[in-house]
C-alpha cells in the first residue's frame, strides 16, 4: 500500500499529537479514514460523525474512491446546503 498524506483541520491537532498532516497507508478513501482512526482513536467519533473528503479540489463521497501519494487530500466538516 502506498503512503498518502491527509490534511486535517488544525482543530484536530489536539487529537493527533499535534500533527495537522497525517500520513497513512491506503489505496482508497475508506482505507485512509480507517487507518487515520486506527492511528488516532480520538478522531474516530468526529470522522464517523461525517466528513467531506476533497481530492485535488474535488469533493468525493465514496469510500471506494482511489487515493495515491500524488493526490492532495483534505478532510473538511461535512458540507450540505439549503
Amino acid at each position: 500500500m502506498a503512503t498518502v498524506a491527509l490534511h486535517l483541520w488544525s482543530g484536530l491537532r489536539r487529537l493527533t499529537g499535534g500533527a495537522e498532516v497525517v500520513e497513512v497507508n491506503a489505496e482508497t478513501v475508506g482505507e485512509a479514514l480507517d487507518a487515520l482512526c486506527a492511528a488516532h482513536p480520538g478522531l474516530a467519533p468526529l470522522i464517523q460523525g461525517g466528513v467531506s473528503v476533497v481530492i485535488d479540489g474535488d469533493m468525493t463521497t465514496s469510500r471506494h474512491h482511489p487515493v495515491t501519494p500524488e493526490n492532495e487530500i483534505f478532510l473538511m466538516q461535512r458540507l450540505k446546503g439549503g
Binding site: W9, S10, D56, F74, G81, G82
Partner: protein, 744 residues
C-alpha cells in the same frame, strides 16, 4: 411533429414554459395542506410558552374527554433509547423532560375538525418549572451561562470550554504573524448577524397515516421525501421501508424543509387513533417559533493589506448559536468567509453554541452570508481607507482555478475573475448618485453539492419520455431536467415529462439542497437517457442486422454509421419505441450514485441605496447580481434564483430578525413584524449570467440557488457607508440602528 420543425440541438439555454406552469397558475397544483382523505382527522400542537422550563406534568384528561377528540400524544408515546442526531430530532419533535425554547412542542391532539383540535389543545394542562434561559450567542458562550444540555459537546471541544460550546474548530495555513507584519494596514473589527427565517410562504403541512400493521403513508411538503422517511421512522421506531412518503408541490423551502419538525406527530396521532389519516398544518406563528431559522452569529475578523491592496493575512473567529441543539453552520461560514481571496496566511476559529431557541435548519448557503457580512464589510472598509477600488482589490486577490483555497484544498474550475470583470463592465457602476446615495459591492461563494441521487427514465410506446426524479421541484427544476433530457434524446422539450416521485419509486435521494436538483438529477437523467439511447441503437442494429457499434444516435433517431452509413434510413425514437414490445421489451435507463463533480459558484452584487438622514431608513435604488452559473439550462429560472437570493439577502440585511422579549419568547412570530421584503420595497433586480462551464457536469451546470443570498448583507452595509459615512456592523441595519450610527 417532424424532426425539422424544431432545433433539437439548442434546447439547453432556451426559455420554454415550465411543465407545471399551468397547474400553478390555475390553482390546481396540490401543496402540503391541499390533500385530504376519507376519515381524516385534524391535529393541533401544544407548545411551550417558556424559553426553558422543566415539564412537571401534562394533564390531557379534559382534552381526551371532549367529544370528537380521537388521540392525544406526548413524548411518552415515542420510543426511548435513541442517540445522536436521531435523539436530537425526536427531542425537537416533542419535548421530553425539559422544554428547550418558546414554541417547543409538548403535546399534540387529533380531532374531527381543526377547530375542535384547537379547542382540545387549549384544554391540555401543562405544569412547568421555569428555568434560567439564554438567547444571545455572546451571552450563551459565557462560562456562567445557563447550561442547556450539559455533556452534549462532541470530541472536538477541548476540556474547560464554556458549557454551551458543543463543537469547536480551527483550521488555516501559512504564517499569520509574518503576514500581518508585511501589511501596511491591519484592521480588526467585530460583526453580528441576527437569526433570519427562510420565510417560505407555505407553512409546513402533512397528512400522515400509520396503522397497527406498522405500514405508513405520508403526504408532505418537503425538500426531501427520503429524509422525511428516514427521520420519521427513526423518531417513531418503525421500519423505514414501511413508510411511503409522497412529496406534494412545495411552497418554498430554501433549506428549511430539508428536515422534520412536526411530521412524526401526524403519524404518532394516526397510530393512536386507529390508523385514521391525520392532517397537521402549522400556523405562521408555529412556523416562526418552532421550525428551523438560521443561526445568529458574532464574528471577529482581522485582515492585513498592503498599500496596493494585496491581502497578506487574515483571521476569523466566529461564534454561532443554532438553537438548543448542535448544528449551527459555523464550519461553512468559516469555509466561505475568505473563499474569494488567495491568502498566504489565514486562520479560522469557530464555536457552535447552544441557546434557548429553535433548532436551526439550513437556509440558502448556510453560514456563507454571515461570514461574507463580516469579511466583505472589512475588506470594503480597508479599501476605503487605502483609497482603492473594491472590485479591483477583489480582482487583485481573487482566486483562480488551481489556487489554494482559504479552507485548504485547491480550487477546481471556478469563474470569480470572469464574474468580477463582468461586474466592472456593467452600466450600473456608472450610474450617477445623488445626495444621501451610495454604492456598495461584495462577493459571495457557495460550494454547491451533488450527493445521493437516483433517477429513472423510461421511453413510452410513442417515443416520448418520462423521467422520475427524487428532488422536489422548488423553483423550476422540472423544466431544466426536461430540457437536458430532451436535448440528450434529441426530442422536443414537450415530449419529456418529469415526475417528482414518492419514496417507493426510486432509490434514496438526498433532498433538494445544496443547489443540487438541476446539477445532480439533471446529470443522472442525462446518464439514464444515454443508457436508453444505447439500447435504442441496439434495437435498430438488430432490425437492420448490423453491429450495434455501427449505429449512432442523431436528432432523435438511430442511424447507421461508419461502413453502413446511408444504407438504411434513420429509425426515429417513435419507430423504435412503437415496436419495443416485440423487440425486447421496455426501454429505459436509470442512474444511481453519489454525484461528484460539483462546481462551486462565485457571484458579486452591486447595490445603490439612499438613506434618509432624518429617519435612517434605507431605500434600495438599484441592484445588480452577477454570478457564474456554469451553464444556464433555463436562463429565466437562473435569473429567478439570482433575484430571489438577492431579495432574501436584502431582507436579512435591512429588517429581518428574530426578536425575543426578556422572557425569551419570540416577540415577532407574524409576517407583520417578521419583515420580509414586499413588492414596493424593491427595485427591478438586474442580472448577468456568467458561464464558466463546470467540467464535472455534461452540460456544465454548477448550481445557482445559494450564492445569491450571500453578497447582499455586506454590499448594503458598504453602500450605506458610502452614502452616509456610517459603518453598520450589526444586522439588521434597521432605521433605528442607522440613525444611531449617523449620530456617531
Amino acid at each position: 411533429m417532424a424532426k425539422d420543425e424544431f432545433n433539437v440541438h439548442n434546447l439547453v439555454g432556451t426559455r420554454p414554459d415550465r411543465p407545471d406552469g399551468l397547474d400553478k397558475v390555475t390553482g390546481r397544483a396540490r401543496y402540503g395542506a391541499d390533500i385530504s382523505a376519507p376519515g381524516m382527522l385534524w391535529a393541533a400542537v401544544v407548545r411551550s410558552p417558556h424559553a426553558h422550563a422543566r415539564i412537571l406534568s401534562i394533564d390531557t384528561s379534559k382534552a381526551e374527554a371532549l367529544e370528537g377528540v380521537k388521540a392525544v400524544v406526548t413524548r411518552a408515546d415515542f420510543p426511548t433509547g435513541l442517540t445522536g442526531e436521531d435523539w436530537n430530532l425526536q427531542e425537537n419533535t416533542m419535548a421530553g423532560d425539559v422544554a428547550l425554547y418558546d414554541g417547543h412542542a409538548v403535546a399534540a391532539v387529533a380531532a374531527t375538525s381543526q377547530l375542535l383540535a384547537n379547542d382540545a389543545a387549549r384544554l391540555i394542562e401543562v405544569e412547568y418549572e421555569v428555568l434560567p434561559h439564554v438567547i444571545d450567542v455572546d451571552d450563551a458562550i459565557k462560562p456562567d451561562a445557563p447550561a442547556i444540555r450539559p455533556g452534549s459537546a462532541d470530541a472536538s471541544v477541548p476540556e474547560g470550554m464554556a458549557p454551551n460550546v458543543v463543537r469547536y474548530m480551527e483550521f488555516g495555513h501559512g504564517d499569520l504573524e509574518d503576514g500581518f507584519a508585511k501589511a501596511d494596514l491591519v484592521c480588526e473589527k467585530s460583526y453580528k448577524t441576527e437569526a433570519a427565517h427562510q420565510g417560505y410562504i407555505e407553512p409546513h403541512a402533512c397528512m400522515g397515516q400509520l396503522g397497527e400493521d406498522g405500514k405508513g403513508e405520508m403526504w408532505v411538503c418537503t425538500q426531501g421525501q427520503w429524509f422525511i422517511r428516514r427521520m420519521c421512522s427513526a423518531v417513531l421506531g418503525m421500519e423505514t421501508s414501511q413508510l411511503r412518503v409522497t412529496p406534494s408541490e412545495i411552497g418554498g423551502g430554501f433549506g428549511g424543509k430539508t428536515t422534520i419538525f412536526m411530521e412524526p406527530l401526524s403519524l404518532a396521532l394516526s397510530r393512536k387513533a386507529g390508523g385514521k389519516p391525520v392532517k397537521l398544518v402549522m400556523s405562521r406563528a408555529e412556523v416562526l417559533r418552532a421550525t428551523g431559522p438560521t443561526a445568529s452569529a458574532s464574528m471577529d475578523v482581522k485582515i492585513g493589506m498592503t498599500r496596493d491592496g494585496t491581502m497578506t493575512a487574515a483571521r476569523a473567529e466566529f461564534r454561532m448559536q443554532g438553537g438548543a441543539f448542535p448544528g449551527a453552520p459555523v464550519d461553512m461560514a468559516l469555509y466561505c468567509a475568505f473563499a474569494p481571496y488567495k491568502l498566504p496566511a489565514v486562520a479560522h476559529i469557530g464555536y457552535d453554541v447552544l441557546a434557548n431557541r429553535p433548532k436551526c435548519a439550513a437556509y440558502r448557503a448556510p453560514g456563507s452570508p454571515m461570514g461574507a457580512f463580516a469579511v466583505e464589510s472589512l475588506v470594503d472598509e480597508m479599501c476605503r481607507e487605502l483609497g482603492l477600488d473594491p472590485i479591483d482589490v477583489r480582482l487583485k486577490n481573487g482566486v483562480k482555478s488551481g489556487d489554494k483555497s482559504s479552507y485548504g484544498p485547491k480550487f477546481g474550475s471556478i469563474g470569480l475573475t470572469e464574474v468580477l470583470e463582468a461586474t466592472k463592465a456593467h452600466p450600473n457602476l456608472a450610474a450617477p448618485l445623488g445626495p444621501n446615495q451610495g454604492r456598495g459591492a461584495a462577493a459571495g461563494y457557495w460550494f454547491n453539492h451533488g450527493g445521493e441521487t437516483s433517477v429513472s427514465m423510461a421511453i413510452s410506446e410513442d417515443g416520448t419520455a418520462q423521467v422520475s426524479v427524487g428532488t422536489p421541484d422548488i423553483g423550476g427544476s422540472r423544466a431544466s431536467i426536461a430540457l437536458m433530457t430532451a436535448e440528450t434524446l434529441g426530442i422536443p422539450y414537450e415530449n419529456v415529462r418529469v415526475n417528482v416521485v414518492e419514496t417507493g419509486a426510486l432509490g434514496v435521494n438526498e433532498p433538494t439542497h445544496g443547489s443540487r436538483a438541476t446539477f445532480a438529477s439533471g446529470k443522472a437523467a442525462v446518464v439514464a437517457a444515454e443508457q436508453a439511447i444505447g439500447e435504442m441503437c441496439r434495437r435498430a442494429a438488430n432490425e437492420w442486422g448490423i453491429d450495434p457499434e455501427a449505429v449512432e444516435w442523431v436528432d432523435g433517431a438511430a442511424q447507421p454509421a461508419g461502413p453502413n452509413a446511408g444504407k438504411f434510413p434513420p429509425m426515429s425514437i417513435a419507430e423504435i419505441a412503437g415496436k419495443m414490445g416485440s423487440t425486447g421489451g421496455p426501454i429505459s435507463g436509470h442512474h444511481e450514485g453519489n454525484l461528484d463533480g460539483v462546481g462551486a459558484s462565485f457571484g458579486t452584487h452591486v447595490v445603490d441605496v439612499e438613506v434618509d438622514p432624518e429617519t435612517g431608513r434605507t431605500t434600495i435604488l438599484r441592484y445588480l447580481v452577477v454570478q457564474d452559473a456554469g451553464r444556464a439550462i433555463h436562463p429565466s429560472y437562473v435569473e429567478g434564483q439570482y433575484q430571489g437570493g438577492a431579495a432574501q439577502g436584502i431582507g436579512w440585511a435591512l429588517n429581518e430578525e428574530y426578536v425575543y422579549d426578556d422572557q425569551g419568547r419570540l416577540a415577532n412570530p407574524v409576517f407583520l413584524d417578521y419583515r420580509v421584503p414586499v413588492a414596493s420595497d424593491l427595485p427591478m433586480i438586474d442580472t448577468v449570467i456568467v458561464e464558466v462551464p463546470n467540467p464535472g457536469h455534461p452540460f456544465g451546470v454548477r448550481g445557482v440557488g445559494e450564492t445569491g443570498i450571500t453578497p447582499p448583507l455586506p454590499a448594503i452595509a458598504n453602500a450605506i457607508q458610502h452614502a452616509t459615512g456610517a459603518r453598520l456592523r450589526h444586522l439588521p441595519m434597521t432605521p433605528a440602528k442607522v440613525l444611531a450610527a449617523l449620530k456617531g
